[in-house]
């Protein structure tokens, strides 16, 4: 199928989010400003002021309230969106769990930023990694184009009746949020049709008839009530089941979108680069993949069998896909842009290593913590990681399992 004709706009990552949300027929946007996310809701409030959207825009007094407003709107059946970062996301912590527990498909963009203290406004993934167990789908984008594409896909994924989970689209603070790129945008009507109208599962009402699962005065019900030890556990188990289903839905929605737009990112879950015959490989999330790809190209031209696995969907984690992608590699370096203090390496390292435990051919696997607080990671430093991997393969053992990139030691 031939992809739809598109126009090219010069947008930074934040503007790409706002533009996508404008096209997604969103009913409610409630937000509170925080760097480096601010441009998203700033642009969107301009669309509201100009009458370009019919969205109710709610300026709240905090991020906790912003997400609460989105949750409430979503439970009435509205399509709701918000955006945040760093301390803002941390303040939402309680409501993140309430939103996923209520199965409210809110979509949120996160411009990844370091957490205090010391205070720092620059990019790293500490904020979203700290929320990886909150029951939200997490998609990490590599560039502004993918940010635009992912936001549109996120509404379809989150609202899928077999998923019904909130979703975060994560873009690296400043590297993506504030860097202008050429972004291909689809026509408004194409996006509106792709996203469609929200569908609801049916539940039995007090009158014994079937009604949509949402707050509606004609079919009164309370959402978010108590569930004590006799029921709570089963509700949590259902959230895990929904995450499993999301793996397939993310793939389907990604493929359907690829047909329309002509753009794809691996299978939608994992985006491998020169991995088929790779002997050494790195694993990373987000914009760093751009730098790594350039280094892989260099190494390949020198005859080195280097590859990259970019994890696009970190929640749900495509465990089987990671195992299949990496089990024939000899040595793997996992790059973490956040720390898990007191753990053995970063969060991505934990999970990738965990995925490989069930493989008969476990490759050597090491961890590189990098880019905290917005510290730049250069192609030279990435080359050094691949050099380490070559040495590990030669020597046949790992000397230092966890290293820090560009740290003044």
């Amino acid at each position: 199928m031939k992809s739809v004709e598109q126009k090219v706009l010069a947008l930074n990552g934040d503007e790409a989010v706002a533009y996508a949300v404008k096209q997604c027929d969103v009913d409610v946007v409630a937000a509170y400003p925080i760097t480096p996310q601010t441009i998203i809701v700033e642009r969107f409030s301009e669309y509201v002021a100009n009458g370009e959207v019919e969205t109710a825009f709610v300026c709240t007094e905090s991020e906790h309230s912003a997400l609460t407003a989105c949750l409430a709107a979503s439970l009435t059946g509205a399509r709701a969106f918000t955006a945040s970062a760093s301390a803002g996301l941390a303040l939402m912590h309680e409501m993140l769990f309430v939103t996923s527990g209520c199965r409210a498909p809110v979509v949120m963009a996160i411009a990844n930023r370091a957490l205090s203290a010391p205070i720092n406004i620059h990019g790293d993934q500490s904020d979203t990694m700290a929320q990886r167990d909150s029951g939200w789908i997490q998609i990490y984008a590599e560039n502004a184009q993918e940010v635009y594409d992912s936001v549109i896909q996120a509404f379809r994924i989150a609202e899928h009746p077999e998923v019904l989970l909130p979703a975060m689209v994560c873009l690296d603070g400043f590297q993506l949020s504030h860097s202008v790129e050429n972004v291909n945008v689809l026509p408004d009507d194409v996006v509106k049709k792709f996203v469609g109208v929200r569908q609801f599962p049916k539940v039995l009402t007090h009158e014994g008839k079937l009604a949509p699962l949402r707050l509606d005065p004609h079919n009164p019900m309370t959402l978010g009530p108590l569930a004590f030890p006799n029921y709570y556990f089963e509700f949590k188990r259902q959230q895990e089941e929904a995450m499993k289903k999301a793996l397939e839905v993310i793939r389907q929605v990604h493929n359907e979108y690829a047909e329309i737009s002509g753009r794809s990112y691996g299978d939608g879950l994992l985006d491998p680069y020169h991995l088929e015959d790779a002997e050494i490989a790195t694993v990373c999330l987000g914009s760093t993949a751009g730098t790594v790809k350039a280094v892989v190209d260099e190494l390949r031209s020198e005859g080195v069998k280097a590859g990259l696995l970019r994890i696009r969907a970190f929640r749900p984690l495509p465990v089987e896909g990671i195992r299949k992608a990496l089990e024939n590699v000899k040595a793997v370096a996992v790059m973490d842009r956040s720390m898990s203090f007191g753990g053995h390496g970063g969060a991505v390292f934990h999970e990738v290593r965990h995925a490989l435990y069930d493989s008969d051919k476990r490759p050597f696997i090491v961890n590189y913590i990098y880019g905290l607080g917005g510290r730049d990671t250069s192609p030279m430093q990435v080359r050094a990681i691949y050099k380490d991997l070559q040495e590990i393969v030669q020597k046949g053992h790992v000397e230092t399992p966890i290293k820090y990139v560009g740290l003044r030691e």
């Binding site: 309370t222 978010g224 509700f235």
Partner: protein
């Protein structure tokens, strides 16, 4: 209503539906019984508005009627009645 036993029978997220007497006949909790003196009642409906358990209904002529199966005897109606038409009497009397 059928009580769900496994997660397959449960809804996706906890929800509760309007149900009469889901806690049983709460009128048995009552120590004091509100008694309406209809000769004093002005049909202002304040008792109907204030009853926290919706145990007071309005008749066609707007006069109140107390459902003693669910009235817990809190006494709010008697307190709010502007013409003191509701008296609280001990149950055993």
């Amino acid at each position: 209503m059928k009580i769900p036993k496994t997660l397959k029978e449960m809804p996706l997220t906890p929800l509760s539906l309007p149900t009469i007497g889901s806690m049983g006949k709460t009128g048995t909790w009552r120590t004091f019984r509100p008694i309406i003196d209809y000769s004093k009642c002005t049909k202002c409906t304040l008792c109907w508005i204030y009853c926290p358990d919706a145990a007071i209904t309005r008749r066609d002529d707007d006069s109140p009627e107390i459902d003693y199966e669910y009235c817990k005897g809190c006494g709010i109606c008697a307190n709010e009645c502007p013409v003191k038409a509701i008296a609280m009497k001990r149950e055993e009397e």
